[in-house]
């Protein structure tokens, strides 16, 4: 006997699966292009980022000694294709998540391989968990592989000044700085010699930056109430929350002039001072739909840098998916949640059609993954919820109060660990 929960859950999971499949096909396509380059079957593409090639090889345990780039790239292409047939929890990129998160996922069944018929699952909870795992396989699998191979072929995005046409022709073209990525943020924070996330973590710890929010969007989605998202982002940066935006959300922010360094005038003093020191806007353009998995890499890098807990769910960060429910957004939002991120949706809870489903996506998700969905169509209220969540995380980390400056004497220096 089918009830409302089962139908709603099956419906959501089926939309999500379609979204994940879009990314999976993009990823597969990129792997095939890479193999074509290796076989000399294409002149349209080439390997443009050798550093990334070697980095991915290292991440995937592919030998590089005494081998030329094409041999290495060929292995990367083959390895990538093999990912699509793997059984549970063997995806290579899962290792990029914090250890604690990997352990948490161990109990699940994360894979890219097409799931068998989900109709047989008769419990909406199991259905939704399966959906959560399909999303993880997208964020930490398909999308991540796609980005890695994209960077090898097309180069890693680096900031550059771009122009965009606004919605109304009366306005002139608007400038924005595009192209942030884990690599370019890492570099921007310390240069070639001192690149690290330390400055970001330090300024989150000292409160200049209150937290980080990923405002995700997808390509070519018609956005209703675009100004709503802009007002949410403005509210966030005013409250010292650094915003990473993708897809149509990013487009909206760019058009609103929030993606140039001068936009620090909209930011709180703390966030503004950090952005001014580094020379970045308070809202960073992270790319398109598939690039949302770069936000996961950034979150993992913040955890790894230290001082802010040992899992993504400990960080004072949040996600926002302000668009209407659609296939890709559902997968992206869910992989945020399954990665431990509090993620706010722009749809109302009522739109889900089932209280039990809503409860699972919020409370149960939080118990299982440390991340949860929240639903709030009002942009200002949504921003407030995000800020509240960030403040709670800050409190849990014990960084909600001003800290005394530590002055080091010799005894304290002896106690320092080796670098």
């Amino acid at each position: 006997m089918e009830n409302t929960e089962i139908i709603t859950a099956r419906n959501l999971v089926s939309i999500l699966t379609e979204g994940a499949a879009v990314h999976r096909e993009q990823s597969r396509k990129l792997a095939e292009i890479l193999l074509k380059i290796c076989k000399g079957e294409t002149q349209d593409y080439q390997i443009r980022n050798r550093q990334k090639l070697l980095q991915v090889a290292q991440d995937w345990d592919i030998p590089i000694k005494n081998r030329n780039d094409l041999e290495i790239a060929n292995d990367i292409g083959q390895t990538a294709l093999a990912e699509f047939d793997k059984e549970n929890n063997e995806l290579l990129s899962l290792k990029k998540a914090p250890l604690k998160r990997q352990e948490l996922w161990q109990r699940g069944n994360i894979k890219l391989k097409q799931q068998s018929n989900t109709d047989t699952l008769q419990d909406y909870r199991n259905l939704l968990r399966q959906g959560a795992e399909i999303a993880i396989a997208d964020g930490w699998g398909s999308s991540m592989i796609a980005n890695d191979i994209h960077d090898i072929i097309f180069n890693t995005p680096t900031p550059s000044l771009e122009k965009i046409k606004p919605d109304t022709p009366e306005q002139g073209e608007v400038n924005y700085i595009s192209g942030f990525s884990h690599e370019s943020i890492h570099y921007s924070l310390g240069g070639s010699f001192r690149a690290s996330y330390r400055p970001l973590n330090d300024n989150i710890i000292n409160g200049r930056i209150r937290g980080v929010a990923g405002v995700v969007g997808c390509n070519d989605t018609p956005i209703k109430h675009q100004s709503n998202y802009v007002s949410m982002v403005k509210e966030l940066i005013k409250n010292d929350v650094l915003v990473l935006a993708t897809g149509s959300s990013a487009t909206a922010c760019a058009k609103a002039g929030l993606m140039i360094p001068e936009a620090i005038e909209y930011a709180g003093d703390g966030l503004a001072s950090v952005c001014e020191a580094i020379g970045i806007p308070p809202v960073l353009h992270l790319g398109s739909c598939i690039d949302n998995s770069r936000i996961l890499i950034i979150a993992a890098a913040i955890v790894k840098e230290g001082g802010l807990g040992d899992d993504i769910s400990d960080l004072p960060i949040a996600g926002a998916a302000p668009e209407e429910i659609n296939k890709e957004i559902l997968s992206i939002g869910q992989y945020f949640v399954s990665s431990g991120v509090f993620t706010i949706s722009g749809v109302s809870q009522a739109a889900l059609g089932s209280e039990k489903i809503a409860e699972f996506l919020a409370e149960d998700s939080r118990n299982i993954y440390g991340g949860m969905w929240a639903f709030e169509p009002d942009p200002t209220k949504a921003a407030k919820l995000i800020i509240n969540h960030i403040d709670q995380k800050r409190k849990a980390l014990g960084i909600d109060k001003t800290r005394e400056r530590i002055l080091y004497d010799m005894e304290m220096r002896r106690g320092l660990e080796t670098v």
Partner: protein, 673 residues
């Protein structure tokens, strides 16, 4: 050089645009590094083209005040002070103060805080260094005020010094730039003070310094960078008045400097230890072969000592004319429940450097061969003999109050009294020496660790036994014992040596377990008596390095001060650089000079008699003890069998000499067996 310039070129970013700039911090930091690389090339060329441009000494000579970069001897000698904390860091000063008085005040404050001051970049023909000279200050390494050069480019010597501390003491490999820079951020507490308008060139250097974690403190209005991350705290702080520029800099760097307040009318601190006092500057003089002088610490019963009492028995400074010589006995009487006779020599050994810390007072020697000069300027400022008592009482109480409760000091300046004390003290010196000589490892159950230099060499652990002093030469077993009593949680901890694993190699279970824990898991055991099998680890502070010479079937020793080539094919610098940093290297050990004549020195390889080469100067320095140890071993002329640089500096050159002398090592079993 071409490679480096290509790299510099690659690192230089395009200019930052006025509108909608791209991220500029990272490119600026890169440009800063390129600046340092380029400056190093400029300075290297200067050395080649104008070899006399810098004095290349510790001090200015013949009207040339610019010293240039620290050579390796200076680096290691001064580096040790950074390691043990006598110097908590350095200030790099660019430009000149608005007037020389202000410059002197800033320099003096840095000296009082025990910091080194590295000076570069003249401004409109004036420089901080010249301002100090105008004010009559002594400058140079001995007083921690180091004039590098008048060009901005010479500030790269400060960066070079910092990087080489990482090489010498941190054991960080060349090329491992990230580790070097983080080591500097975490452990080298340096900062830059800019005085006057900050030029573009200065900005470029400032960006370089930030890579090292060294913040910039400016006296002018420049854009501030307050968010933290590359440096521990703020990166650039501007518009700081001269009165508090030093304290602000220390706070921004995150440095804690504890300075003892000593109630005497002149300045006091390690920065004044290297002050020079010429005969003409001295108001009066004690000892030095002209009058008797002696220093003696002795224990008394509690009721015999009145804490803080300072007596002058005989004439005070004010009672004698300028240019006088007086006899002097400094007798320190201590009492306390925890006081032990063994601590007397430890307290006594502090007298030399503590008196030397006093501005305008110069001291050398110890016991009954001490020598003291007090300058006219110190006397003018009101310094009296009683202040020697004041400072010794205050400092010894501060540093050693856990081992004694009360201290009184008597300064005798009457000849017969002084001679009487010399006689008494000499008896005590003999008893002490015999007791220390009599202590052996076998009958001692507790050894001590020394991790003093872990602030710079985090995985290095010294084990100090009665028959092996620490390899920096600063700490013997008794010192460590006292240091533990004084600070039970400090860097010297007692180690129950436990079950013997090898009596020959000098390995004990308790010691090995301690090493594992204290080296943070990096080393799990080492030998105390062998240079071949798992020898002890070496930090960059060792006074000497011993290396096996396989052809000669022996061991050579080279000390830090000897800069020439040695028979093992490496100079001291290379040797120390290769084996330092807390690793165990079979065939090589770092050790102290004193250790050479201790009975357990490489005893697994038959000890002292394995030594086939050492520099002439080292042999002369340890001649007395070398001779008596040789006699004890039944080969009184053994010192003459040891080759030195006049015999040769390769194994092939010295081998015939060893044969001719019938050196005992040639008849021993093969050392590498």
């Amino acid at each position: 050089m071409e490679q480096v310039l290509i790299k510099c070129h690659y690192l230089l970013p395009p200019p930052v645009s006025e509108n909608h700039p791209l991220p500029y911090l990272a490119p600026a930091l890169d440009a800063g590094m390129a600046t340092f690389f380029a400056e190093e090339i400029i300075e290297a060329i200067r050395y080649l083209e104008k070899p006399d441009y810098y004095t290349q000494q510790e001090e200015p000579i013949n009207n040339n005040i610019w010293l240039g970069a620290a050579d390796d001897i200076i680096l290691r000698k001064r580096g040790v002070e950074f390691v043990d904390g006598t110097a908590p860091g350095f200030a790099a000063i660019l430009g000149a103060a608005p007037n020389s008085k202000t410059a002197a005040r800033i320099a003096h404050e840095l000296q009082e805080k025990n910091l080194y001051t590295f000076m570069a970049a003249a401004k409109d023909g004036n420089s901080f260094s010249q301002q100090l000279i105008e004010e009559g200050l002594q400058i140079g390494w001995p007083v921690r005020l180091v004039p590098f050069g008048s060009d901005i480019t010479s500030i790269v010597f400060a960066a070079g010094f910092a990087i080489r501390v990482g090489f010498a003491f941190g054991g960080i490999a060349p090329g491992d730039y990230k580790k070097h820079l983080l080591y500097n951020k975490d452990r080298i507490f340096a900062f830059v003070i800019t005085l006057g308008e900050v030029t573009e060139e200065w900005c470029a250097n400032a960006a370089g310094a930030i890579n090292f974690g060294f913040p910039i403190i400016a006296d002018t209005q420049i854009p501030e960078i307050l968010p933290t991350g590359i440096c521990t705290y703020e990166h650039v702080v501007a518009d700081i008045p001269h009165d508090n520029i030093v304290s602000k800099a220390i706070e921004v760097r995150g440095l804690k400097v504890t300075v003892a307040e000593i109630p005497i009318p002149v300045a006091f601190g390690p920065a004044f230890e290297g002050e020079r006092v010429r005969k003409g500057e001295s108001y009066l003089e004690f000892g030095g072969g002209i009058t008797p002088m002696v220093e003696w610490v002795t224990s008394k019963r509690m009721e015999e000592v009145e804490d803080g009492k300072i007596e002058i028995i005989g004439p005070e400074i004010t009672d004698v004319a300028e240019g006088s010589n007086l006899p002097l006995a400094i007798v320190i009487e201590v009492a306390g429940r925890d006081m032990q006779e063994d601590y007397e020599p430890i307290l006594e050994r502090q007298i030399h450097h503590l008196i030397n810390y006093t501005q305008g007072v110069w001291h050398i020697g110890q016991r009954d061969i001490a020598w003291l000069r007090i300058t006219k300027s110190a006397v003018e400022k009101g310094f009296r003999l009683s202040h020697i008592g004041t400072l010794l009482h205050a400092k010894l109480h501060q540093d050693f109050s856990r081992i004694f409760d009360k201290m009184q000091i008597k300064l005798y300046t009457e000849k017969d009294k002084v001679e009487e004390i010399v006689k008494k003290a000499k008896v005590v010196y003999q008893v002490r020496d015999a007791r220390i000589e009599g202590m052996i490892d076998e009958t001692t159950d507790t050894y001590y660790s020394c991790t003093l230099c872990q602030s710079f060499a985090p995985s290095h652990v010294c084990i100090v036994t009665p028959e092996k002093t620490g390899l920096c030469g600063s700490y013997n077993w008794m010192d460590c014992k006292a240091a533990y009593e004084i600070n039970p949680t400090g860097p010297n901890q007692p180690i129950a040596k436990g079950e013997t694993i090898s009596a020959k190699l000098g390995q004990w279970r308790g010691v090995n377990e301690y090493i594992y824990q204290a080296s943070r898991g990096n080393i799990d055991h080492y030998s105390m008596y062998s240079i071949i099998i798992d020898p002890w680890t070496t930090c960059g502070c060792c006074e000497c390095v011993a290396a096996v010479l396989p052809l000669c079937n022996g061991v050579m020793i080279v000390n830090r001060e000897y800069t020439e080539m040695t028979p093992c094919g490496m100079k001291f610098t290379t040797l120390a650089g290769t084996i330092g940093g807390g690793i165990s290297t079979p065939g090589f050990i770092g050790h102290s000079k004193y250790n050479i004549c201790q009975r357990k020195f490489i005893s697994a390889e038959e000890g002292l008699l394995r030594i086939v080469w050492m520099p002439r100067s080292l042999k002369a320095e340890i001649a007395g003890r070398l001779k008596s140890r040789s006699e004890e071993l039944g080969i009184p002329d053994f010192p003459e069998m040891i080759a030195d640089e006049t015999v040769g500096t390769t194994e092939e050159e010295i081998f015939p000499f060893l044969q001719e002398k019938n050196h005992p090592a040639l008849n021993m079993k093969p050392i590498l067996d």
